[in-house]
C-alpha cells in the first residue's frame, strides 16, 4: 500500500498559506478573528482525521520537520521581547505587576477548577498555563505533566474568544483606559487578541504587544514553580 502520510507536511503548509491568504481578504474585525488561520487549520485537520478515522501518530511523525523548528522559534521570541522592553520603561512596574497578577490568577483559577471538578492530574495540569502564547503553553504544560496539545488548542480558542468578545466586555464594564485594555488583552489573549487590539486602536495594540511578550517571560518564570506549589497547598 502506498504511504500517503509523507504528504502531511506539504498539506499543512498549503492549508495554512491558503487560510492566511483568505484571512487577509476579510475586513470585518470579528470575521478576521473567527477566520484565524491557525484556529481554522487545527480545526479542519482535526475534523478530517477524526471523520476519516485516520490515526494521529503517523500524521505527527510525518510533520516532525515542522515541529522541530518550534524550539529555535521559541528562542527567537527573544527578539520581540527585547524590542518591547524598550517601550515599557515608563510604566514598567505597573505593567509587570498586572501581567504577573493575571498569570498567577489564571494558574490559581485553573488549579481551583481542577479541584472542584475532580479532574485527573494530567487534565488539571493542562489548564495551568493558559494565559500565554501557544508555543510557551506547549512547553510549560508538557513540563507540568499536562496534555500540551489540549492546552494549545484551548489557548488558541481563548485568543479567538478574546478577540471577538474582549472589547465588548470592556465597553459593558466601562473600562476605557487604553493601557488597561491593551495589557489585559495581551496577557490573556496573546497573539490573536493582540492582532485584534492593533485593529481596534494602535495604542491599545502597542500595550497588548508588550504584555504578550512579558507574559511569555513571566509564565516561563512563574508557572513551573507556582503550579506544583498550588497543587501541594490546595490538596
Amino acid at each position: 500500500m502506498i504511504n500517503y502520510w509523507w504528504l502531511s507536511s506539504f498539506a499543512v503548509v498549503g492549508l495554512f498559506l491558503i487560510l492566511k491568504w483568505l484571512n487577509g481578504y476579510s475586513e470585518k474585525p470579528i470575521i478576521k478573528s473567527l477566520t484565524n488561520p491557525v484556529f481554522l487549520a487545527i480545526t479542519i485537520i482535526a475534523v478530517l482525521l477524526v471523520s476519516l478515522d485516520l490515526p494521529y501518530k503517523p500524521f505527527f511523525e510525518h510533520t516532525q520537520v515542522l515541529s522541530v523548528l518550534l524550539e529555535p522559534a521559541i528562542v527567537a521570541l527573544a527578539i520581540p521581547l527585547y524590542q518591547q522592553f524598550v517601550h515599557i520603561r515608563k510604566n514598567a512596574l505597573l505593567i509587570l505587576l498586572s501581567c504577573a497578577a493575571g498569570i498567577i490568577n489564571a494558574t490559581f483559577v485553573g488549579a481551583l477548577l481542577g479541584l472542584f471538578f475532580c479532574a485527573p492530574s494530567e487534565l488539571a495540569a493542562s489548564v495551568a498555563a493558559l494565559s500565554v502564547t501557544t508555543p510557551i503553553t506547549l512547553l510549560v504544560t508538557d513540563s507540568l505533566g499536562g496534555i500540551a496539545s489540549l492546552a494549545a488548542a484551548m489557548v488558541i480558542f481563548i485568543g479567538v474568544l478574546g478577540a471577538v468578545f474582549g472589547f465588548i466586555i470592556f465597553r459593558l464594564l466601562g473600562i476605557g483606559n487604553d493601557q488597561a485594555q491593551g495589557v489585559a488583552i495581551g496577557t490573556t489573549c496573546h497573539a490573536i487578541g493582540t492582532a485584534a487590539a492593533l485593529r481596534e486602536n494602535p495604542k491599545i495594540g502597542a500595550f497588548a504587544s508588550v504584555a504578550m511578550a512579558l507574559s511569555a517571560l513571566l509564565t516561563a518564570l512563574i508557572v513551573p514553580w507556582l503550579y506544583p506549589f498550588l497543587q501541594q497547598a490546595l490538596l
Binding site: 487545527i42 485527573p120 506547549l138 464594564l173
Partner: protein
Amino acid sequence: MTQLKKRLKSSIQFLLSCAIILANLFIAKLIMHTTGGSFPAPLLGMLLLVTLLLTGIIKEAQVTPFASPLLNFMPLFFIPAGVGFIEHLELIQQYWQFLMTALLLIPLTSLLLISHIISHYKSKDQHD
C-alpha cells in the same frame, strides 16, 4: 561581482544568526541536562538570548536574518502539535464541563483583574 559579494555577505549573516539561536538552544539544553531540572530548555534559551541582547553582547541585527522568518512562520510549527488533542477526545468528552468552565473563567477573571488594576492606578495617578 558586487552582487556576489552581497549574496555571500547575507548568507554569512544568515548562518551567523542561525548559529547564535542554535547555540543558545544547545547551551540551554546542556544546562537542563546537567542540572536535571524540569524547566523547558527552549524557554531558557529564550531567556539567555534576551539577556545577551539587553547586555549588548549580541546585537539585534545579528539575530534577525534567521529569527525573522522563524517568527513569521511560527504558527505553522505548532499546528501539528495542536491537532494532538484528538487523541484525548474521550477524556475531553468526560470532563467537558471542566474544560468549558476553564475556557471561559480563566481568561475572563484575568481580563477583569488586569484591567481593573491598571484602571485603578491610572485614575489614582490623575487625581494625585
